[in-house]
């Protein structure tokens, strides 16, 4: 199947070693993911760690108070104080555990091996999961969700999440901690196509670079391992799903990456026909 002519930016041909590229990019994504999750877990873990210490101290205080079997009025005051502190501990631990469950849930939609199989999924869940594991990168960024109801899309969920992570990570990097990130889903072609847009208000891409950004190895990020593969792989994954990816960008204003995916995955026979063949 040939590339969609509307995708003006996807100018380079497929790599000679697509699987190798996918594996390398997958490792790079995994690195971002692990760093993100570790960072995200630190806050709730820090709170629970502190609360554990508070509970230990409270218990020791209560044991001291009860040691002589008599509770004086002063000690009663102390008990009231302990109860107040424990109330706070309970509330905070509840929030911390909720947060950790959310992170693990985000990971679940992101990288579970069983999601390596074709499935019909609501892509908004993948977008939300990705936003959760990248939350630490979004500090200072205004997040706008324009997530319209969209039909389930037949796809490889893991691969699509890798696409979302690459695009969201790039968008955040382009903004240097200040700007707005818009994540958008729309229905097109009377429900046959789902459009996903990741828009940033970052530095933008110079017009002469736009035709090159989907080339394997192309990077403007000065040697960050694997990053140069991100957009090449993103395009390759979208291609494999029978979709297309394009970008609109203005220097100093920002960029919009737009993906259009058919709700039905192309049949494997058609895909294996190769890019140069007419079948």
């Amino acid at each position: 199947m040939s590339h969609d002519p509307r995708v003006a930016t996807a100018t380079s041909g497929p790599s000679d070693h697509p699987q190798e590229l996918i594996n390398q990019a997958h490792l790079a994504t995994l690195g971002t993911l692990v760093a993100g999750v570790a960072h995200e877990l630190n806050t709730p873990l820090g709170a629970i760690h502190s609360n554990h210490d508070v509970i230990e101290r409270a218990l020791r205080k209560l044991q001291d108070i009860l040691a002589d079997e008599v509770v004086t009025p002063d000690e009663l005051q102390e008990v009231r104080k302990i109860v107040r502190a424990m109330d706070g501990v309970l509330t905070t631990n509840g929030i911390a555990v909720e947060r950790m469950l959310k992170i693990v849930d985000g990971l679940g939609t992101f990288g579970r091996p069983d999601r390596a199989e074709v499935d019909r999924v609501d892509l908004r869940e993948g977008l939300e999961g990705t936003l959760t594991v990248l939350a630490h990168e979004l500090v200072g960024i205004r997040l706008v969700r324009e997530l319209e109801n969209v039909p389930r899309v037949e796809c490889y969920p893991n691969r699509m999440n890798q696409v979302f992570m690459n695009l969201i990570h790039n968008a955040v990097q382009a903004m240097d901690g200040d700007g707005a990130l818009t994540v958008r889903t729309r229905v097109e072609d009377g429900g046959a196509t789902v459009r996903i847009e990741i828009e940033d208000t970052g530095r933008g891409i110079a017009p002469h670079l736009i035709p090159r950004i989907f080339e394997p190895g192309f990077t403007t990020k000065g040697g960050r391992v694997g990053m140069g593969l991100g957009l090449a792989i993103t395009r390759q994954i979208v291609d494999h799903h029978g979709g297309d990816i394009s970008v609109e960008s203005a220097v100093g204003k920002g960029s919009v990456f737009r993906i259009r995916l058919p709700v039905r995955l192309p049949r494997p026979e058609a895909k294996e026909g190769g890019s140069g063949e007419t079948g």
Partner: protein
């Protein structure tokens, strides 16, 4: 120091669980009046109206970063001691804050409760000493004014 007149401590972090954990610990272990905030702007409003001894703020906050917040807090309550709570890679910002916000101390996350208590106690003591100094200077100024008045009246009595 004695805890009998309860120094006021303001804690600001956009993460409710961080504020909550520190608040529970300080409530259990000290007699400080702890005022928790997840919004730096709301904390600044309170600083305008309430005598505060210690201000502890996180660095990475979406509304306003910790250094800007503490710099503003310094303008409103110069006598309050300022402490920055920093993440893992924010040391450079803490160093910047020492000059910009007149930082007394910075604490790295995840914090150690015992160290936190010690730093906040010392910070509160420092704020009290400032208050005391301010009060004494005020007394001296008033005594000086009285003496000046007395001297003028004395001179006039003899003229």
């Amino acid at each position: 120091m004695s805890d009998n007149s309860s120094p006021t401590v303001i804690i600001v972090d956009d993460e409710e669980m961080v504020v909550g954990a520190i608040q529970s610990f300080l409530e259990l272990e000290t007699s400080f009046d702890v005022l928790p905030f997840t919004s730096p702007r709301a904390a600044l409003e309170t600083l305008e109206t309430r005598t505060t001894h210690v201000v502890l703020a996180d660095f990475m906050m979406p509304e306003m970063d910790g250094v800007s917040f503490l710099t503003r807090a310094r303008e409103i309550r110069p006598a309050a001691t300022r402490i920055l709570l920093t993440g893992y890679a924010d040391k450079q910002n803490a160093i910047r804050a020492i000059n910009e916000a007149g930082l007394y101390h910075y604490l790295e996350k995840p914090w150690d409760n015992e160290a936190l208590k010690l730093i906040i106690r010392n910070a509160a003591e420092r704020a009290r000493l400032f208050e005391e100094l301010d009060r004494r200077v005020g007394e001296l100024e008033r005594a000086n004014e009285e003496l000046t008045g007395f001297r003028e009246r004395l001179i006039q009595a003899f003229l």
